[in-house]
Subunit: 441 residues, 2 copies
């Protein structure tokens, strides 16, 4: 008998990925960071002696969620200002609050709070863009959360870097510092086409190419941006991206609310990826991304919550249900964005969009053990005809009991094992007192 | 010192209703079924000696939610069929499943499961329309849940009644049986204008008038219904309702996706009420109700989850967030349906829509004690700048810790006190086995 770390057994259902169901009475064997076997419990029981057995009775076992776009530290601004005109919200609330309050401390504690919330709602990988991302990396590392993160790059100074050049240098530092880390991955992230000069965009593209890391950018989030870019470039934003060699498989574009049929053809042709954030797009009244068309065109589309200032939570269950519902009513067609498609977007498609499809997003032998266990024995999940339906239309983040990332149990029976919840909430509450003060003066 | 039943003390915030905040350090005194005082804890402590003290530390205390439209027993069909064309869904799944499986037993256990789910997500009053409603009344009574319920009336036989006349007689029986009950209230509910003859509609209207009870009807749920009724009546559906004397303050119309400006003027003029079900309208691709216009016209609009076959949950938090988000993106205006307005719709406006605004929907001295306590000390509710924002954009049903209805604690620290959860889930799981069989033949 081989001695291994963990065996998960007794689950009601195992969903290895949205295309397949595991055989009845399946178990999952984990050693070190990897899934080493999935098969009948009796068979695995004969082969492996596990140091820890997780009894997943009355539960659903599935890959953890991949949150393709967020700004983790913005948990500190959750609910600070809502229901406002975009420019009022940005200019009178978010930008001043950021300028006055964002520092290393806020970035670290805000990111750790985000990590707690993400783990507690079943996310095992997230893609982040913000300021002081080395602090977000530190928080994710402590939490044991897999991530792909990048310092936001734009033409103006940030609380972290005084210039675009410093932003690029900081990003290069992140890439080199974390390059051998099992959990922390780095992405180059110019903020958007309307906030970055052609020189900065070119340098960012080169940096991502030099290190073969992903490249992420906010793109065409609303009609106003679309018109502004059309006027600025004298052509569509996606045609401009083609010119500057941004259209490739390492590109992940966030939002893409205003993508045309031609844009989608280009995205599909070059293998570019998209992160869809329906809750944020609705809350900010940005518009409705043509996701069913993107999928039909063959584009890889993941889901992202966006930051807590514009959502205001990091729960991928809410993102899934909203994605499923929004496009049905927008198209007046109840068959689009079926539950299985949406679960796929929240797991394996998201992982692929981030260039991490080979290590996470599904339960497969040889992949990293990024696994969540969802308790089904609850009134709102009874009866059970179809697991995908329950995941999208009935469950919520609080239904996640246990989370394993990279082979390590980071939450068990809703108790976080890597984060002191009380401490992080207290730290963020103290930061929030200061944020409030900055609005009272 | 007056001896009383319950005092709630130590809450972080008390939201008596969306228009007001209670003074700091407030406590709530409850005796028998009623709120008898709200005021500073020290003051109430001198006046009242409570048999039970609820320490609401780190919590938000607010009125329970009012779910204005559901079909409780349909929890038995939760997730049975999704993502289908409306007529495929109805004719090949829902109608056959109902015809084969709905009986007293399903109605009772399905309703009790719904009651468990509603209490666990903070609903204290619900309005129901289905078959065998006396069983739903029995379940609600056992659960200690306040309700307004009616047997669905239409031209064809149901598993419960052989004819419209029997349906009317059954409704009259319900009215007389439950007329002195503190929790169970009866509504007359013709299903819709396309399923009821003019004679049945007239008789239903008369029955509601004779007993001064509310009158509820599905109305203009989608474009197809709007065209069908226009063709059938040679006029708009609301004009037809006016002719048959349905436009009055006791009317609650469910859905109203296709209401015109003229219709809204009539509704406002006659004091008619509307239940808005954004999740169901999105999932079935029915369309987007013009709710911001309804509110501007002065119509009382509550929120309803609709049944579990078309939602697939009874969580009013999801209904609130969806209502807030949907209309923002539909209007491309982030200021519509602000959080406070939406919380109001889910509580006091809903109570008023059901004709129960004098007894529930807000925390006021003299009203029934229908109160929920929400734990705030959680990562996803940290920090706290604005309670309404958290309720609509960040919280979910699992955040409700304790529920009081009519002065009785029905859930404490998430333990249901009136329902045996295990028993009801087992009963519904057994019913689901039979439902599944009916699709395998």
């Amino acid at each position: 008998m081989q001695e291994i770390d963990i065996i998960i057994t007794g689950a009601k259902t195992i969903l290895p990925d949205p295309g397949n169901a595991a055989p009845d009475q399946s178990a999952i064997a984990i050693n070190s960071s990897e899934i080493i076997a999935i098969g009948p419990a009796a068979e695995l029981g004969k082969k492996y002696q596990a140091r820890k057995t997780i009894n997943a009775q009355d539960s659903l076992v599935m890959p953890g969620f991949v949150n393709c776009h967020t700004h983790a530290a913005m948990t500190c601004f959750r609910g600070m200002a809502d229901d406002l005109e975009l420019m009022d919200w940005l200019n009178n609330y978010i930008f001043p609050a950021e300028a006055k309050n964002v520092n290393k401390e806020l970035a670290y504690w805000g990111s750790l709070l985000a990590a707690a919330e993400m783990i507690k709602s079943g996310t095992t990988t997230f893609c982040d863009m913000y300021i002081f991302e080395d602090e977000t990396a530190r928080a994710a590392k402590q939490a044991g959360l897999r991530c792909l993160l990048g310092e936001v790059l734009f033409d103006f100074p940030s609380p972290n870097v005084k210039s675009p050049e410093e932003g690029l240098a900081y990003t290069r530092m992140l890439i080199e510092k974390w390059q051998n880390d099992p959990l922390i991955n780095i992405i180059v992230e110019p903020h958007a086409l309307y906030t970055c000069s052609p020189a900065l965009l070119a340098a960012a593209g080169k940096l991502a190419r030099d290190y073969s890391v992903p490249l992420g950018i906010h793109l065409l989030e609303n009609k106003a941006e679309e018109s502004q870019l059309q006027q600025k470039f004298g052509k569509g934003a996606v045609s401009f991206l083609k010119e500057i060699n941004y259209l490739h498989e390492r590109l992940i574009a966030f939002h893409c609310v205003c993508l045309s049929a031609d844009d989608m053809r280009l995205f599909a042709h070059y293998g570019c990826n998209i992160s869809h954030s329906p809750v944020s797009n609705m809350k900010l009244a940005s518009g409705i991304a043509p996701v069913p068309d993107m999928l039909k065109a063959g584009i890889t589309v993941g889901l992202g919550t966006d930051g807590c200032a514009s959502n205001n939570n990091l729960d991928m269950f809410k993102e899934m249900s909203t994605a499923a519902l929004l496009h049905k009513v927008a198209r007046l067609d109840p068959t689009v964005m079926d539950a299985r498609t949406v679960v796929s977007m929240a797991t394996i498609e998201g992982a692929q969009a981030l260039g991490m499809g080979n290590i996470t997003g599904s339960l497969e032998v040889g992949k990293k053990a990024d696994i969540i266990i969802i308790g089904l024995n609850k009134p709102h999940l009874t009866p059970l005809y179809n697991e995908y339906s329950h995941l999208v239309y009935a469950a919520n983040g609080a239904d996640v009991d246990t989370v394993i990332i990279n082979g390590k149990v980071v939450m068990e029976n809703r108790q976080l094992l890597t984060i002191n919840e009380t401490e992080v909430m207290q730290a963020v509450n103290e930061i929030a007192v200061e944020i409030k003060k900055s609005f009272q003066t």
